[in-house]
Amino acid sequence: MSGTRIAMVGLPNAGKTTYVAAFWATARATPRPDRHTIVSFPDDPTYLQATADAWFAGRPVDRNRSESIQPIVLSLRRKGRADLKLAIPDLSGESFRDAAADRRILPEVAEVVTECSLVLFFVSAATATTPVSLVDLPPEVEEENEDGDGEDPNGDHQGVGDEEDSDEQHQDDTEHSDQEDDDEQASDQEDHEAADDPAHSSEEFDSKALETDILNAELLQLIAELRDDLDAYPPVLVVVSAWDTVSDLGVTPYEWLRTNQPMFAQVVAEHGRSAAVEVMGISAQGGDYSVDPDITTVRPEERPVVVTKEATHQDIGLPFVWFEDLAGSEPDG
């Protein structure tokens, strides 16, 4: 058997643990010949079983919030392929957020990302956030003229040599004032929306409150930089989790990433110049438990949804199939 170290990377609530839970729950169920099945139980299956049981019962999976690393080693078999042994430690999203925001990393986490053969990078479609650009914010309110001469701040917006056009400018100012009233109402609404934006909700700059687009981009950059040798950049498979929340958009996972996490998508593309990259949309739960509680009546291996650029599947082990194909796994017999 080959031992393959996999790093599951992602911010808090990105879907890492839910994915592992779903994979284990489907692998331990009645095996299908074209899917991964387990060869043997891990030495200590407690964590895996607990998370898989929650998934099976249609309950949200408790994610790993602590700095402790939940070791997960899976021995798997899939028809037509060599047996696979995967080491997939479940790292807390907080440890990755701290790396990107606070610029400190636990040595154990650094070891996982520097020695892995594959990075599964999770981004939740349900919770991903994108920065509001300065160009999309309401313009600055001009400081009032302290001389009190009553000049309209916008009256200064005259072109060079425009003095002879003062009458026309006055009419323009009037029209501009009416538009200003409309803009002010719109800008009040947008101020409220901007205030709800966590990165802008307080005066103090808080790197931990940065949008996921920025933190994910930073995280992938840092992972690459932690690898000493350029040739050792790992392949990266981006999992857009909670895919069921955006499946109606009719876009591919990569198109979703480019639109909703543009900074991260561009860093992924840049990484793709040095190593293989792929983007898949995965709904590990198969749907929203609060909307569809009967989902637990569906056979486990038929609940997850995996979307690639070509088609929609139900095989939650497709990320590992992709990796095996990269590594040129020779089929048995």
């Binding site: 610029r103 313009p139 600055e140 005259q158 040599g161 200003e180 920025i214 900074m263 998508a265």
Partner: protein, 338 residues
């Protein structure tokens, strides 16, 4: 009285004023920028790679800060790829920091037609500046938010790829304090951090605040500020191939065609006094919505220019200006040109 600067954290140091909380990142009790306060004494900086010397905390390993780069951190960035270095010149509130914050935002949001984003060593530095600019947008009165003289030796960095030919470029932007530039033109004071940055710069964009240049009351001053800088540059130690250009910001403040007139006047002054015509760029990073101007107008072209690394040949004739041109001579020169 100097307003306290909220752009950068308080430097390490001690304060003799009993009621002051500046050493705990509170405001200066006298309302000063700490470095200007006679009660505050800076702790001398230590040399060496800050990452290597950063103490471990909670057993965690330090990573590169992601903030604006200090001189000791530059060598790591510069050793990876040939890097075009830009030192934007303009006075306080000319808009240099906002200009490049918006440029970075547009690039990372995939909104520049010609360029894609390929990474940065100072993402948090850009994010911090964007955050402060966003906070200013929500206040009724303008706040300081300017680049402190303390951070005058910092630089922001990013990589970009041109879509047409896939060519990779690394760009370094010096985060210059406008106060240092104002002091240079007002009194000839050559702040070492500014002088050092200028000596290595490939590009020296002279940033003209378009809001000032568009307003009749302040137009002549805006033009004069730019011309003063042009006259001063030959007296500084610059690369032979350094490229000077003009960047007129806030284009949405101008009526049609009038921005060209401002630029032509600055170019004419440079041509008459220095025997060269700087290239000019007109930009509108954050135009007013009612102006009909596209956000980020001109930034794509500006980036096209700033990524270029001169190949050691002088890109413009040596300006014919006598050395040791001081502020008094500048005023005389200006008065004579009117």
């Amino acid at each position: 009285m100097d307003e306290p600067d909220d752009t950068v954290p308080t430097p390490a140091g001690t304060c003799t004023e009993p009621s002051c909380t500046v050493t705990a990142d509170g405001p200066c009790a006298k309302g000063h920028d700490p470095i200007d306060c006679d009660s505050f004494e800076l702790t001398p900086p230590s040399d060496g790679d800050p990452v290597e010397h950063a103490p471990k905390t909670d057993g965690r390993l330090p990573l590169p800060s992601g903030e604006a780069l200090r001189p000791v951190e530059l060598r790591t960035v510069l050793s990876r790829h040939p890097t075009a270095r830009t030192v934007p010149l303009g006075g306080v509130d000319a808009g240099k920091t906002t200009l490049f914050a918006v440029l970075f935002e547009m690039l990372t949001a995939d909104r520049l037609p010609t360029w894609t984003y390929s990474g940065s060593s100072t993402t948090l530095g850009f994010a911090r500046r964007s955050h402060l600019a966003a906070m200013r947008s929500k206040r009724k009165h303008a706040t300081t938010g300017r680049t402190s003289r303390l951070s005058g030796d910092r630089a922001l960095h990013f990589n970009a790829r041109r879509r047409t030919d896939d060519e990779f470029h690394s760009v370094l932007l010096a985060d210059v304090s406008g106060e240092h530039v104002d002091e240079l033109t007002a009194s000839g004071l050559r702040e070492p951090v500014l002088v050092d940055a200028l000596a290595d710069a490939h590009h020296l964009p002279i940033v003209i605040d378009g809001a000032l240049a568009a307003a009749p009351r302040t137009r002549e001053q805006a033009i004069r500020n730019a011309v003063d800088l042009i006259h001063l540059l030959p007296t500084l130690d610059l690369r032979d191939d350094a490229r000077i250009c003009i960047v007129l910001t806030k284009l949405d403040h101008f009526g049609e065609g009038h921005a060209d007139t401002v630029i032509e006047r600055v170019q004419d002054a440079a041509d008459r006094s220095l025997d060269f015509v700087p290239e000019a760029f007109q930009v509108a990073a954050r135009p007013d919505r009612g102006s009909g101007t596209e956000p980020g107008l001109g930034l794509d072209d500006l980036l096209n220019h700033l990524v270029q690394i001169p190949e050691g040949r002088s890109s413009s004739p040596s300006p014919a200006v006598p050395p040791a041109l001081d502020a008094r001579m500048l005023r005389d020169l200006w008065a004579g040109s009117r």
